[in-house]
Amino acid sequence: MIALLKRDLALAIRAGGGFGLALAFFLIVVTLTPFAVGPDSATLATIAAGILWLGALLSCLLSLDRILALDFEDGSLELLATAPIPLEGVATIKAFAHWLTTGLPLTLAAPVLGVLLHLPTDGFFWLTLSLAIGTPALSVIGTFGAALTVGLKRGGLLLSLIVLPLYVPTLIFGAEVARRGTQGMSADTPLALLAGITLATVALLPFASAAAIRINLR
């Protein structure tokens, strides 16, 4: 399992896979936002937390099809399925590797980009915290979507269509934490719910992902 994690990380770093690409996309979303809504810093400050969450979510979405597609194409996925580790474990590790190479960098980049959007001072802590707690769920749900569409030739767009509705609860609670935190309100309840969603998806969704991979390999 650790060998698989190490390999996935090495691949992501060496091939310049999701790593740089998702961050660059995040930067572009944040850069374009003021062009779309105007340079007024008060306006930007009110929407900053939401835009940063949405930007992180879209950047994450961009790299989902790489989670399994590459391994499917070169036959690695079949060989992993015959290896003596459970496919549920493979799905979990894949999601974890995706989070380490995408969710974590996005979380770390968000406060920096928050400066560009005039994110209020109170918001930095809550934004980073909500992203740190919420992005694992994005990776796990994304792995499930990737597992469903892995055998398809043009699965990219379909993957987004399937995954985006599944992202709704995570986005709502995550952005709510950041928004309430930014406005100085108590964010305990949404934070607990966000953590609940992350824990539940991490615990349960790999089973569905593994089932989908098995069906697709058949």
Partner: protein, 206 residues
């Protein structure tokens, strides 16, 4: 380990492709699958490897004793030969890869990224991957594709060495490898009405 396949039946894409396939492989021996394309050689190997569900029949031992190699090698172009090999070794709880490197003549290529290997070298790396799994029954699907004559000979000797060490192999191939192996001829299976219409999605509608 002796391998026993009894009365195996497999459906793929809605149609029965294999029916009542039975054979036995004893340690030190190989079975070569023959038959025209699309007759179910790949399906049989995938079923033995546990990737395809069988409708009926028994395979002993289970997939955990089989090392499977398909057309795709599972080789990552950006990783070096050593990294590729030791990853699959670790995944199977094995740590020693130098013997496999030697057997498949890969010692001089150890630090090269796998993407820069020639087709034949890649194929050898793919076969070395099977050796490092430590599993005794090799399932090989067209292992000699894109190999030149020398490499085929090298491959055949690798299989022979594996057999001599008490392993066994099931090989789907068109060419003669010069192995002392039994031949299993897969014939066309004529679809008959299935006994239980609930067995398969497609058949149920006939």
């Amino acid at each position: 380990m002796e391998m026993n396949v009894t009365e195996l039946a497999v459906t793929r894409g809605g149609m029965r492709v294999l029916e009542a396939v039975s054979f036995r492989v004893v340690p030190g021996r190989a079975v070569v699958l023959r038959g025209p394309n699309g007759i179910g050689k790949t399906t049989l190997l995938r079923t033995l490897a546990g990737l395809q569900r069988a409708d009926a029949g028994k395979v002993e031992p289970g997939p955990e004793a089989m090392a499977y190699a398909s057309h795709a090698d599972g080789i990552k172009a950006t990783l070096s030969v050593r990294e590729n090999l030791s990853f699959w070794a670790k995944l199977h709880g094995m740590f020693e890869i130098s013997a496999a490197l030697r057997d498949f003549n890969l010692e001089t290529l150890v630090e090269r990224p796998a993407g820069s290997l020639s087709a034949g070298q890649k194929r050898r790396l793919g076969l070395a991957r099977m050796a490092v799994t430590g599993r005794s029954i090799w399932l090989l699907d067209e292992p000699t594709v894109s190999l030149d004559t020398d490499s085929v000979a090298l491959f055949a000797s690798a299989v022979e060495r594996h057999l001599a060490q008490g392993g066994s192999a099931v090989i789907a191939t068109h060419i003669d490898l010069g192995l002392d192996a039994e031949v299993l001829q897969l014939g066309p299976f004529k679809a008959e009405a299935p006994e239980d219409p609930h067995e398969d999605f497609h058949e149920a509608f006939l």
